[in-house]
Symmetry: C2
Subunit: 307 residues, 2 copies
């Protein structure tokens, strides 16, 4: 029986000024996904570590994309997926996207890589629709492509990999619940033109900074005058953490996806570790539990570890 094991990594969507259009792939944490090719049209999804999963694969973030994939295949094949979930759902670092992206990349490998990365993103977005009601790609695209990706447009889908210099990432995941749908609902439907202009200056600056390996420009561009001022009120200690991390040498950072995780970028590992210490000391003071990751940008995305 053909089977494969992949690591499906966490991702940071938005990157502060790139709401809904930018995302970045992390080296850690990642889910471990074992996928087997079946000889009938069927999708089964299980977890090894008792994560609660909807039993209907169509309602499942790994199952829905695979059902979409089966729908375009002529062969009588199916997939069994066994997930060792290590990325906590509701963390804001792309837990559902990892299941969707990992499933389609593994399935495509088993089928002999018949689909392009863009087609895989298209399938994986059905998982995001199950998870949040919206077909967004700012987690699944970086999870599949690796590195930093721009989703210029969803309809039609237009994904552009953006080169970046080495970046270390410190992620604090506060143990509080912020639902993606709530984080979306508190946003205003209209924004001031002058704020939108400031934001598109920043996103243009961020893309230029990444492509020029200009850390200072990246830092100056990591500014969000639209989303962060609203969403950050849901995250305890956000302003204090941000200010102290930047004083400690972080290039910049903000809310990861729709939160509650906070991420900070640094030029080197020592700084990323100091930033972690700063985050820890703030959270120890305010008494909220947390998980912490010090990692790097992952240039590869979902990775096959065993065939």
């Amino acid at each position: 029986m053909k089977q494969i094991t992949v690591h499906a990594p966490a991702t940071v969507a938005n990157l502060v000024c790139g709401f809904d259009v930018l995302g970045l792939c992390l080296a850690e944490p990642y889910d471990i996904m074992e996928v087997r090719l079946l000889d009938k049209r069927q999708v089964i999804v299980r977890t090894t570590n008792n994560f609660p999963l909807p039993s209907d694969p169509a309602m499942n973030t790994a199952g829905a994309p695979l059902l979409e994939m089966l729908a375009v295949l002529k062969q009588d094949v199916g997939f069994e997926v066994i997930i060792t979930k290590q990325i906590k759902p509701g963390s804001g670092i792309g837990s559902s996207a990892a299941s969707s992206a990992g499933a389609v990349v593994a399935a495509n490998e088993l089928l002999g890589n018949i689909f392009s990365k863009e087609e895989l993103v298209r399938f994986a977005m059905f998982g995001e629709k199950v998870a949040s009601g919206v077909k967004h790609a700012d987690n699944v695209a970086p999870c599949i492509y690796g590195g930093v990706t721009l989703i210029r447009s969803i309809f039609p889908l237009d994904i552009i990999p953006i080169d970046s210099p080495p970046l270390y990432v410190t992620v604090l995941h506060p143990q509080i619940e912020v639902r993606t749908s709530d984080a979306r609902e508190i946003l205003r439907k209209e924004v001031l033109l002058k704020d939108a202009i400031r934001q598109w200056g920043n996103i243009a600056g961020l893309v230029a900074g990444l492509m020029k390996s200009d850390y200072e420009l990246i830092g100056r561009s990591l500014e969000d005058v639209i989303i962060e001022p609203v969403r950050s009120i849901l995250i305890p200690g956000f302003d204090l953490i941000k200010a102290e991390c930047i004083s400690s040498g972080a290039i910049g950072g903000g809310i990861s996806g729709s939160g509650p995780s906070i991420f900070m970028l640094s030029k080197d590992e020592a700084t990323a570790q100091s930033v972690a210490t700063v985050m820890q000391s703030v959270y120890d003071r305010i008494g909220v539990n947390y998980h912490m990751y010090v990692t790097t940008v992952n240039p590869q995305g979902v990775r096959v570890v065993e065939r």
Copy 2:
């Protein structure tokens, strides 16, 4: 007596999706500016070809920036500026910016290049304030830096040169009047968040496309869902011209600055010439007079031609 002659070129602000933050320098047309160093604190501005100019230098787009420059100088110096105006005021291709930028670059040369390009932009913006009431930099920055420039922020000023592949530019200047202040007033003060997101996807795509020399991506990103739908109604035949130019091979384009000029980008000169023919035939049909330029991106900006 020390004197210098410079060519101060036209510029295209906004570049469709980069309202207020992007601009591009053209090779032609340009103003010819002769600047003399005087031995007393005085600014005199004249034109050779009877363009009407405010006699008070503080009210003049070339004079105001030079007065700002004098204010920071300790020496007893002044400048006499003689402009042969070739860029038509009110064309939307940075006529006032050329006078401001040319004046400060020439003056700086006469002083031994004591100011940085960023400082020169800062002075030149006082000319834009005289011309339109607003200190914007999306014409003066590309005029001084050359090429494509991003103005990430005005306060504080943050100018980022963006590399670009060779680009040919066709400019149609309809002989109608659109005042910058009117073009600004018809814009809504608020925009839909979903439109703003589409716009920042496009500006990120445009910057990435320019830096990757990816003409297709540049073309896909030259889309404006916010400003163009409103401003284009002031320009006769806009939608038809845009559609026909793109069918004729143009990469894309739109309104230059606040209009009424329309610009189109092409990969090569032959296409840029066909695009000019298309524009001409539409305007001959609708019976509006026009000027036409087929030119290139100017990587240098204001150029010293004689010392």
